[in-house]
């Protein structure tokens, strides 16, 4: 076999595999679309709803991870404060991703206040792909979306992002789970509600929470190589908010008390406190504001369910009203 024939064959195989990979990517996309219709996959609905809002109509926006979009119900906040708010939290939202979501937010809205909800993983998440994928596909084309890919991912992740069959492969588990049975919508306990909020009706027992405690080291506060980068983006958010005259409040939604026993959060909280002090920002740590929460107000390990979210959202609304 000549070198030319060898290279042609190699190219042919590579192109073929790449095309199959793109086909699988489309399959995953369709699967997400089905889940979006059922209300159990949220990013697309959230971004669509956001883009449908009139320009510069929001007063208050919540940014953060799943803790944020499950814990803060903008509709309840709005009804108590008479403001217009939206929750732009997304799954595993790191601070790097938050920055580009924030850029896109400012392309369409100019809120007076932004609540930036922080958790250990928003500061020490290493795998940016996980974080980017829940936004990139659903954001409108433009500079913020381009920058999310170009600056939000490192070189390796940029390559991986070209292979949807690879980076979306964790979807296979749920696809397989529902391959032989249809999803019983009446049994779905958490669904997209509105304004970015995801309502979870399921309650978690203390016993089942305790069962989960063993596998939760990933939530521990250990700065990673990426922490510096995430903190750099946090500073950029702070600076831009100052430039745009937007009040930025740093917050931390509550996690179950039983988790607090095993996760060393002090260092994380100290880091945020130092940043807020240095930049003259308010940091509200809802773990320490005496909210009447217990384990049954949580859902899926550390997230708040709709009952817990009601308590937190009411508290936020109360604080906003007090500061008016």
């Amino acid at each position: 076999m000549s070198i030319k024939a060898f290279l042609v064959k190699l190219l042919f195989y590579s192109v073929l595999v790449y095309l199959i990979n793109l086909g699988i990517g489309e399959f995953f996309k369709n699967d997400n679309s089905k889940k979006t219709q059922l209300g159990i996959f949220y990013p697309e609905t959230r971004w669509n709803e956001f883009y449908s809002l009139p320009e510069k109509s929001l007063d208050l926006v919540f940014l953060g991870s799943s803790l944020c979009y499950r814990g803060i119900n903008p509709e309840l906040v709005d009804s108590l404060t008479h403001l217009k708010s939206f929750n732009l939290g997304s799954s595993i939202q790191s601070l790097t991703t938050t920055y580009f979501v924030f850029e896109e937010l400012l392309n369409h809205q100019h809120p007076k206040v932004i609540y930036l909800d922080l958790f250990t993983r928003t500061l020490n998440l290493e795998d940016q792909l996980e974080s980017v994928r829940y936004n990139y596909e659903f954001m409108n084309s433009g500079e913020a979306k381009d920058n999310l890919y170009l600056s939000g991912l490192n070189f390796t992740e940029k390559i991986q992002f070209l292979f949807p069959a690879f980076y979306k492969r964790d979807q296979l588990n749920s696809i397989f789970k529902y391959a032989f049975k249809s999803i019983d919508t009446s049994k779905i306990s958490d669904k997209y509600y509105k304004k970015g909020f995801v309502k979870s009706s399921k309650r978690m027992s203390t016993a089942s929470l305790n069962l989960k405690l063993n596998g939760l080291t990933k939530f521990d506060w250990t700065p990673t190589e990426r922490t510096e980068i995430h903190l750099k983006y946090l500073q950029k958010i702070i600076d831009r908010c100052k430039d745009e005259n937007i009040k930025l409040i740093l917050s931390s939604t509550p996690i179950p008390k039983s988790f607090y026993k095993i996760i060393e959060l002090e260092q994380f909280e100290k880091t945020i406190q130092d940043i807020s002090r240095k930049n003259n920002l308010e940091f509200i740590n809802y773990n320490k504001t005496g909210l009447p929460l217990n384990d049954t107000l949580h859902f899926k390990d550390h997230h708040l369910n709709q009952y817990g979210a009601r308590i937190l959202s009411t508290k936020i609304a109360e604080q906003i009203n007090n500061s008016k």
Partner: protein
């Protein structure tokens, strides 16, 4: 840098492209490129330990060249001891210091003396056991007069650090590999194509089987106290498959990568699960280590103990396998693992005639089938020692496994340690791997399918490549043999 990382294919493409752009007559520049690329490859993990490889290579290059120039016995002995002390000294310091200190403290405590030695904070340099043995074989061969010393330091340094096999073998003899560095190489499309196939086969075993099995095996070995015997049985069976796919997968990627550069490395695994006795198993498992131990340890020891007759051979065998166990890691479990191998090999050595008679009386296929199963069961039992954290863990696992409940099979128990998708993956990938290895048992690797129809090849390559994309575990695991 890991073979199963995203960085590796990019690194490989850049180095390979540059390498073949260099004209054939300037092959020394190709060697220099390999040397630079290998140091970069290793430095990606920890650049500080490059000094160690450099020091080891430099010592053996100088020692071998001096050995080539002198005929004085005293000087030659001094030189070979220099090489042995330097190389083994580095290995012992980095790999065994803490083990010896801790074992000494434990021993003293058993006789009532309390010593308070703090463990040394030593990081084990990846691949140290592999490149130390490789470079040692060179000086010993030169000392024995089996090969001429290499005159060119770049060729020799490139041989020691050759990145495809630097961190986990195969342990290449200088007499096999150095001559390949000393002549021009031409890109051979057949060799290159088969190298690529071998890389894909290695990735299939490593990523799709070993890495997917790793968390399940870990779950079983960590929570063995609460697991039913059948799950412990499945756990150790899966570990046997995991370690085979992990290590032979690495070897396939290493050999395949070397072939892309025009080098031929030695086969490191020859389908060991089809062995009919343990002696044969060790001829098929980690062949480069078995051969090294045979030539540089067992044979010299046998000669040393020849006055003892058969007892001398047994002694040499036991010592070789205990050291083989210790080579794998600084733990008592590995020493007992080696000892256990030695015991069985001694049994096989002593009972060879008797077993030959039984074989003649029995149906050949039945005898072979029983031998095959017994060998695998023996290997599996040894794997408990290999995987356990300590001897207590190994014994507790083993004694929990031996129970009448072993035959109580429940799907619920299995689904408690793996989800249905995992189960489906294993039910497809493991039999497929075994089937391909049976079909290809006379070939170099499981995917050497040059005689298949083009469309069969196309389908197989596509399925494997897509499966690698789809089923790579989210948490990728290191190669097990990196820790050795």
């Amino acid at each position: 840098m890991l073979f199963n990382s995203v960085e590796f294919p990019i690194f490989l493409l850049v180095v390979l492209f540059t390498y073949w752009l260099i004209p054939k007559k300037w092959f020394q520049w190709q060697n220099a490129l390999i040397l630079g690329a290998s140091y970069f490859f290793y430095g990606w993990w920890n650049w500080q330990f490059l000094a160690l490889i450099f020091f080891s290579s430099a010592t053996d290059f100088i020692v071998a060249n001096k050995l080539g120039k002198t005929t004085k016995d005293k000087t030659r002995t001094l030189l070979i001891w220099t090489s042995l002390v330097v190389n083994l000294g580095i290995l012992v310091y980095f790999k065994y210091s803490n083990f010896f200190i801790e074992s000494f403290v434990d021993l003293m405590q058993t006789v009532g003396l309390n010593f308070n030695f703090a463990s040394l904070n030593i990081i084990l340099p990846v691949g140290i056991s592999f490149y130390t043995f490789q470079t040692l074989s060179y000086t010993i061969d030169v000392y024995r007069g089996d090969m001429e010393p290499s005159k060119n330091p770049i060729n020799f340094f490139a041989y020691v650090s050759f990145f495809p096999q630097l961190v986990a073998g195969p342990i290449e003899r200088a007499s096999d590999l150095v001559p390949q560095f000393e002549k021009a190489r031409k890109f051979n499309t057949e060799l290159g194509a088969d190298g690529l196939r071998q890389i894909i086969w290695g990735l299939f075993k490593k990523v799709l089987i070993a890495d997917n099995l790793a968390p399940i095996v870990e779950k079983v070995f960590d929570g063995y106290e609460t697991m039913p015997p059948i799950i412990l049985f499945i756990g150790v069976t899966l570990f046997s498959i995991q370690i085979y796919c992990d290590f032979s997968g690495y070897s396939d990627i290493a050999i395949g990568t070397a072939r892309l550069f025009g080098f031929e490395l030695n086969q490191n695994f020859r389908f060991p699960f089809f062995s009919k006795n343990v002696t044969e198993f060790w001829r098929r498992w980690h062949i480069s280590l078995s051969n090294w131990l045979r030539d540089y340890l067992f044979i010299p020891l046998s000669i040393q103990f020849r006055s003892l007759g058969i007892k001398g051979i047994i002694l040499a065998m036991m010592l070789t396998f205990i050291l083989c166990g210790l080579w794998h890691g600084a733990r008592w479990t590995f020493i007992v693992f080696g000892f256990w191998q030695g015991v069985i090999l001694t049994y096989e050595f002593l009972s060879a005639k008797k077993r030959g008679k039984i074989k003649k009386r029995m149906n050949k296929n039945l005898y072979n089938a029983i031998s095959l199963i017994l060998t695998f069961v023996f290997w599996k039992t040894s794997m408990i020692l290999f995987r356990a954290d300590n001897l207590h863990h190994a014994w507790a696992y083993f004694s929990s496994l031996i129970s009448f409940d072993l035959f109580q099979f429940s799907m619920k128990d299995i689904l408690a340690v793996m989800d249905p998708l995992d189960l489906l993956k294993f039910l497809i990938f493991i039999p497929f791997m075994l089937l391909m290895e049976i079909l290809q048992r006379e070939k170099l690797h499981g995917l050497e399918i040059t005689n298949y129809k083009w469309y069969t090849k196309l389908i197989l390559y596509s399925i494997i490549a897509i499966s690698i994309l789809l089923f790579t575990p989210i948490e990728s695991a290191d190669f097990i043999y990196f820790q050795f």
